[in-house]
């Protein structure tokens, strides 16, 4: 379509314009995070800090127990990840390989859960957690997210592509069905397991409303809630807030840069099911 050089050039110019719009807020965040407080309060603002104030990062880190928030987040996302992989692999295996009565009906029931947004069951889930005495504990952050229908769905789609002959051969050779799952199905599903893992990690790292509601003590806070809380305490100290925002998004952006192809294609494929 675009044979003439000017038309390629104009496509690039439009895309560069869009790209600048996409990253300017990030650049502004980093620029502010390195300014002196009076520099940040200047209008018109300077685009870059006069002398980068790296100490802002240290100061922000010490203002609130961010180390604790990070450890909490790592522990919670790690536990959720292990649990999701475990529960989803088992359930997806049952839904794709084992014969039992009501299998399809149960699967449709599972899928219908996916249509219910979290805010719909947040209040009753809170009451249930209250009755379990799980509020403000790791249990409340981990267990309810330890299984999800979307992961089961993704894994089942993949498991169904594995040839039936493999199963029959394995069973005849005396392999148990669990052995088949462990030794044949899972090794053949590495790519989709990585997709499930990435979705789980991104979801845990960025989750906000649930941890906001089910925890209230400082020592149970995870990173996003900690950052939100810090924003109320830091008030108008924008340099510190921007420094804190930067180190809170940095780990995930790092993961993104290493796995960008896989992450983007996972998101793209997750959409095509519709």
């Amino acid at each position: 379509m675009a044979k003439r050089p000017w038309s390629k050039l104009s496509i690039h110019l439009l895309l560069i314009g869009g790209g600048i719009a996409a990253i300017t807020p990030f650049l502004w965040m980093i620029s502010t995070s390195l300014k002196l407080p009076p520099e940040a309060l200047k209008f018109p603002p300077g685009l870059l800090p006069h002398i980068p104030q790296w100490s802002n990062y240290l100061e922000a880190w010490r203002e609130a127990p961010f180390a604790r928030y990070f450890l909490n987040t790592i522990f919670v996302s790690g536990s959720v990840l292990v649990s999701v992989l475990f529960t989803s692999a088992l359930a997806a295996f049952a839904f794709s390989w084992l014969e039992f009565k009501g299998r399809e009906a149960l699967f449709v029931g599972f899928l219908s859960m996916m249509m219910v947004p979290m805010v719909v069951y947040l209040v009753p889930a809170y009451i249930i957690l209250y009755k379990l005495r799980w509020l403000d504990t790791y249990w409340a952050l981990i267990i309810p997210w330890g299984a999800n229908v979307f992961s089961i769905f993704l894994l089942r789609q993949h498991f169904k592509t594995i040839p039936r002959d493999l199963y029959d051969a394995a069973i005849i050779d005396g392999c148990s069905s669990f052995g088949f799952l462990w030794r044949v199905v899972l090794p053949l599903s590495k790519a989709v397991l990585v997709t499930v893992a990435l979705f789980s990690l991104i979801g845990s790292w960025n989750s906000f409303m649930w941890p906001l509601v089910v925890t209230n003590s400082d020592k149970m806070r995870i990173i996003q809630v900690g950052l939100a809380n810090f924003s109320q305490e830091s008030g108008t100290r924008w340099t510190l807030l921007m420094a804190a925002s930067t180190f809170c998004v940095a780990p995930l952006l790092l993961v993104f840069f290493f796995a960008q192809k896989r992450i983007i294609s996972s998101f793209a494929r997750s959409g095509l099911k519709g």
Partner: protein, 316 residues
């Protein structure tokens, strides 16, 4: 073989149990429980049975209607804008250009970033005295705006610009809500671009070549090839963006106010109202009623769009 298969009778349950327990305890049970809770006066503990009383109160609650209107404003502001811009960039990215991957990654950056951090940054960008947004406006000769502090409707503001004085009820969403809309479009754009791009890449390239040989220009091929063949993707993106937009919470919670939902309640959206009732003023029965109304809205949108999609959408 016989023995083994009999022994396996129990095993499907063993495989399903872990997921089943969690999903029943923390999805199915809460969903059913929310109906129950919504029939009671429920502050910290369960109180008097009200039947449909909460719902009756809800339809007579002006704050509920106001927050529903604000949510609809948000959805109508976000969804079409996001769809148009993301389709535009996806079509550009699909032109076999160099550095396509780099552009795509750049556009995707806001998607992967947490809404909390992004809200902090945009609140700073919108700062009425010190923000980059106003700096850019001053640069092009427009006087600075109040952004998140501005309760005046956007249509009214635009009207003032051309010397037209609109009444308040025709003012549309406040500038504060528009600021949130702009930020939300920015945040979600990359995801929609990636979805559209995947849809575009599924359209066979030969179609475009054949059209070109027949003398069709780029706009004609877009209208006659791209648009109809892309319609399943378009419907999916439309549905997902709408559903997600109806649940807007984090950016409202973190960027507006104090009090949240300000200025003058013009950014109070339905999920925030639910949160306020459920977890600030501890009226859990009322919050559950709001949650179920929201669920009915989202569910009917899903079903409506599914039905429309089946009838109209061209599956290529």
């Amino acid at each position: 073989m016989e023995v083994r298969s009999k022994k396996n009778k129990l095993s499907p349950l063993f495989y399903l149990l872990p997921a089943l327990v969690i999903i029943i305890a923390f999805r199915l049970l809460p969903i059913l429980y929310s109906f129950f809770v919504s029939f009671f006066e429920w502050k910290i503990k369960r109180g008097e049975f009200l039947g449909l009383g909460q719902y009756w109160a809800l339809i007579h609650d002006p704050v509920f209607w106001k927050s529903l209107l604000n949510t609809v404003y948000f959805v109508l502001g976000t969804v079409p804008t996001s769809l148009l811009i993301s389709l535009f960039f996806a079509v550009l990215l699909n032109q076999k250009i160099k550095a396509m991957g780099a552009y795509r990654t750049t556009f995707f950056l806001p998607v992967i970033t947490s809404m909390v951090a992004v809200s902090m940054v945009w609140k700073w960008l919108y700062h009425p005295r010190l923000g980059l947004a106003n700096f850019l406006l001053v640069l092009v000769g427009i006087k600075p705006l109040g952004w998140l502090n501005e309760p005046t409707g956007i249509l009214k503001l635009l009207g003032q610009g051309i010397g037209l004085s609109l009444p308040n009820w025709l003012g549309g969403p406040s500038l504060a809500l528009v600021a949130i809309i702009i930020m939300s479009v920015w945040k979600g754009l990359g995801y929609n671009i990636v979805l559209f791009l995947a849809g575009l890449q599924n359209i066979p390239h030969q179609l475009y070549e054949a059209a070109r040989i027949d003398g069709a220009g780029p706009f004609y091929s877009f209208r006659r090839i791209t648009w109809p063949l892309l319609s399943p993707t378009t419907f999916y993106v439309l549905l997902m963006t709408t559903i997600v937009s109806f649940q807007v919470f984090t950016q409202i919670y973190l960027m507006t106010g104090p009090p949240v939902g300000g200025p003058q309640g013009t950014t109070k959206v339905i999920v925030y109202y639910l949160y306020e009732k459920g977890f600030v003023t501890f009226n859990r029965g009322y919050a559950s009623a709001i949650a179920l109304v929201l669920f009915v809205i989202i569910l009917s949108l899903t079903l409506l769009q599914r039905r429309l999609a089946e009838r109209r959408v061209h599956y290529g």
